[in-house]
C-alpha cells in the first residue's frame, strides 16, 4: 500500500505498539494483560509495518525470522517449566524469588512464571508474523 501518511505514522505507531505490548505482558500477572495479549499487540505492530512498508522491510526490521522467534518462545516456555524439576517440584510449578523482600514489602518478584509468559509472548508473536508475512508475500 503506497501511502506516505500511513508509512510515516507506522514508524511511530509500530514502536509504540511494541513498547505497549511489553508493558501488557509484564503487568499481566496482576492487571489485564499477559503474554498472549502482549504477543498479539506486538504482532499487530509489525503487521501494520508490513502493510505500510512491505514485508521486505518488515522482515529486515525484525532481523530474525519469525519462525525462529516462535520456536525460541516454545523452548523458553519449556525451559521455564522444566526449571521446577531442579527444585524437586512437579513440572511447571512456579518458582519465585523476591529480591529485597522485607516484612511488609515483598520487593521485586522474579519468577519462572514470568519466563514462561515471555515464552508465550514470543510464540504468539512469531507464529502470527510467520503467517502474515507468508500470506502477504504469497499474494
Amino acid at each position: 500500500m503506497n501511502s506516505v501518511i500511513l508509512r510515516v505514522g507506522t514508524r511511530y505507531l509500530a514502536g509504540l505498539l511494541l513498547v505497549f505490548s511489553f508493558y501488557m505482558m509484564l503487568r499481566g500477572h496482576n492487571e489485564p494483560g499477559g503474554g498472549f495479549i502482549g504477543g498479539l499487540t506486538g504482532a499487530t505492530g509489525f503487521v501494520l509495518y508490513a502493510i505500510a512498508c512491505g514485508t521486505q522491510d518488515a522482515r529486515a526490521a525484525l532481523r530474525v525470522m519469525p519462525q525462529t522467534i516462535a520456536i525460541w518462545g516454545l523452548g523458553i516456555a519449556l525451559a521455564a517449566g522444566l526449571f521446577a524439576a531442579l527444585f524437586g517440584d512437579a513440572l511447571f510449578t512456579g518458582q519465585w524469588l523476591f529480591i529485597g523482600a522485607t516484612e511488609d514489602d515483598k520487593g521485586l518478584p522474579l519468577s519462572s512464571v514470568l519466563v514462561f509468559d515471555i515464552g508465550v509472548y514470543l510464540v504468539v508473536f512469531g507464529s502470527i508474523l510467520t503467517l502474515v508475512f507468508a500470506m502477504e508475500e504469497e499474494i
Partner: protein, 752 residues
Amino acid sequence: MAGGFPKTVRGNGLTGILPVGLAALLFAWFASMLPTIAATEVIRLTIPWIPSLGIELAFLVDGLSLTFSLLISGIGTLVLLYSNTYLAGHPQYARFALFLTAFMVSMLGLVLADDLILLFVFWELTTLTSYMLIGFSHEAKKSRRNALQALFVTGAGGLAFLAGLILLAAATGTTSISGIIAQGSALKEHAMYLPILILLLAGTFTKSAQVPFHFWLPNAMAAPTPVSAFLHSATMVKAGVYVMARMHPAMSGTDVWLWTLTIFGAVTAVFASLLALRQTDLKQALAYTTLMALGTLTLFLGQESGYAMTAFATFLIVHSLYKASLFLVVGCIDLSTGTRETDQLGGLGRIMPITAVAAALAALSMAGFPPFLGFIGKELKYAGALAVASEPVLVAGAALLSNALMLAVAGVVAFRPFWRGTVPSGQSPQEAPWQMWAGPIILASLGAVFGIYPDLLQVALVAPTVISLTGEVGEVKELQLWAGFNIPLILSIATFVLGLLFYARHVQLRGMLERAFTAIPNLDTGWDRFLDRLKGFAKWQTQLVQNGKLTSYLFGTFLTIAAGILLTLVYTGMPMIAVDLSDVEWKHTSIALLTIAGALLALVTNSRIAGIAALGVVGIGIAMIFIVFSAPDVAITQLLVETLVVVLVAVVMLRLPSLPKAEFRLNHALLSVAVGASVSLILIAVVSSPLDLRLTEYFEATSWPEAYGRNIVNVILVDFRALDTFGEIAVVVIAALSAYALLRTTRKGDQK
C-alpha cells in the same frame, strides 16, 4: 544364480561380534538360573512402572519362561554368529544386527513378563521388529508385500489380543499374570470368560499361524534365512503358543478351550504337513513343517493331562533344536549352490560333509528315530494323544499322519540333497565356513545328547515347565528312550513304515497334492484383492469427505455441531427455560442490535471488504459483551484477534474479484438457523441451571496467596494450568509452521 560363500569370512567387524557376545551373555545368565528353577522355585523381579494403574514391570522366571528364554538366547547366539558370515559385508548389516537383537530382547521380555500390559508391549515389539526383519530385503517388492502381510495379520490379531487382555484385567481385577493364575478357576466361571477366550485366541492363532491364518508364515520366508531360522522356528511364531501355555492354568479345562484348541491344532498339523510335502523349495517345506509343529503344540495345550503337558514341553524343545538347525543348513545349501529347489540339488554329502552330518542329525530327530530326542518327543506325543479323554482316536490319528509326513519331509530336506544324485553341472558347491556349520551342529547334537540322556532335560527344563503348566509335581511324566512295549511304540513303528512309504513315493504324492490343493481356497490369493479394495474404499471416502470445497467442510462441521447439541437436548430432555429479561439494560440491547446488524450485512453484501468489515463488527460486538460483563482479558484478546483476522482476511481477499451476487441457498439458511437456535438453547439451558462456583472460588482464594497474582485469568494460564498452555502454544507453533510450509509449496508449484 551365482552361488558361493562370502570371500571374506571375517564378518562385519564389531557390529558383527557385539550382538553375538550380548546374546551369549544373556544365555549364560539364564543358564545360571537353571539350578534354582530345577529346584521348582521361581525368580521374580518387580519394578513399579505405572503405580496409579497398578501396572508393574514385573518379570517372572519359572520353568516355562526359562525354557523359552534359553531357547531364544541360545538359538539367538548361534543365529547371530551365523548371520555375521551369511551376510558378511552386507552394507546394511548393522541395521540387520540391530533388528535381530531388538527382536531377541523383545521376545525375551515377552516370555518373562508377568504383567498383562507389559506382555502386550513386548508382544507388539516382536510384531514390529519381525516386520523389519521380514522386509529386510526391502528392494524386492515381494519382500515388502509379505512383510506387510505378516504385520497386518499379526497386528490385527494383536488388537484383538489387547482387547482380550483388557477384558481379562477387568474381569480379574489385576494385571498381574501370577495374580490371575492364583485366582484358580474363578476366571472359568466368569461371565466374560468366552469373550476373553475368543479375543485372546484371535491374537495367539494369528501370531502362531494356525489355519486359516497360516498363510503369512510361508510368505514370511522372504526374509534372509537366519531370520527364518530364528523367528519362524524357535521364537516369534511360538509367542502365541507361549501365551496359550501361560494362560493354561487359568483358562484350560472348559469344553470351549478343549475343542477350539484341539480342532484348530489338529487341522493345522495335518493340513500343514500335507502342504509341506507339496513344496519343492526347501525353505518353504520347512516353513510348513513349522506350521505342523505349531498345530501340534496347540493341540496339546488343549488338553489337561500330565502326558499332554510333558509332550508339549518336550516337543517344544525338540522342535526348536532341529528346526533352527535345518533352516541354517538350508541357508548353507542356498549360499553354496545358489538354489533351494530339491530338483536341482544332489550329491552334496561328499562336498559338504559337516553340514551333511548336521542335517542328518537334525533330520533324524525330526523324523523321530531313536535314540534322538525326537523319538522321545514322538512317544510322548502318542502317549499324550491316547490320554486325551474325549477323542483319543482322532488326536492320535492326526498325530500319526502328521508324524509320518514329517518323516517324509525330513528325508526330502535333509537326506535327498546330500546323499542322492550328483551335483548338477554349473554348480560349484563347497563346505560352509565354521561360523555357519557351528550352529546347526550344536543344535542338532543337542537333540542326540538329550535323547540319550533324557534325565538332563527332564530335571532341568521339562519338569519345571510341566509344573508351571499344571501346578502339580505329580503330573510330570518320565522322559524315557525305552518305555516298554506299548501302544505308543506300535504307533511309532507304524509311523516309520508309513513315513518311509511316503518318502519313497513323495514325487507322485506331490503331484497329487498339487492338484488337490489348487482347488482349496486360500486367503493368500485374495489378499492383494482385499488390499486393493481397501485402498479403493479409502480413496472413495477421502474424496467424499475431503472434496476440497471449503463450503462443504464448513457445512459438515456446523451440521455436526447443530445435530450434536440438538440431539443431546432432546435426549436429556429440555430443561425448563425461564428467561428473565428484567435486568437487561439499554447497553446490552444496543450491543446485541449492533452484532445482529453486522451479521445481516455480511449475509447480503457482495463486496468483499464490506463482508469482512461486517464480520469484524460481529466480533467487536462480542468483545463488548465481554467488557460489559467484566472480563477484560478475554475482551482484549477477542479485540486483538478480531483485528488481526480482519487484516489477514483483507490481505488475502482484497486481491480476489468481487463476490457473485448473493443468492439464497435454502440448506445453508436452514443450517444457520439450526446452529443459532441450538447454541442459544444450550446457553439458556446452562444459564438457567445454578452455576457451580467451586472452581471460581478456589482460584479466587488461592490466586494471590499461592501464585502471587491478582489477575486470575493470567495466573490460571501461566501457573495453575501452565502445562495446558504449553500444549496450546506448541499447537500454535505447529499450525503456523504447517501453514507456512503449505503457502511456500504452492508458490514453488506456481513457478515451475
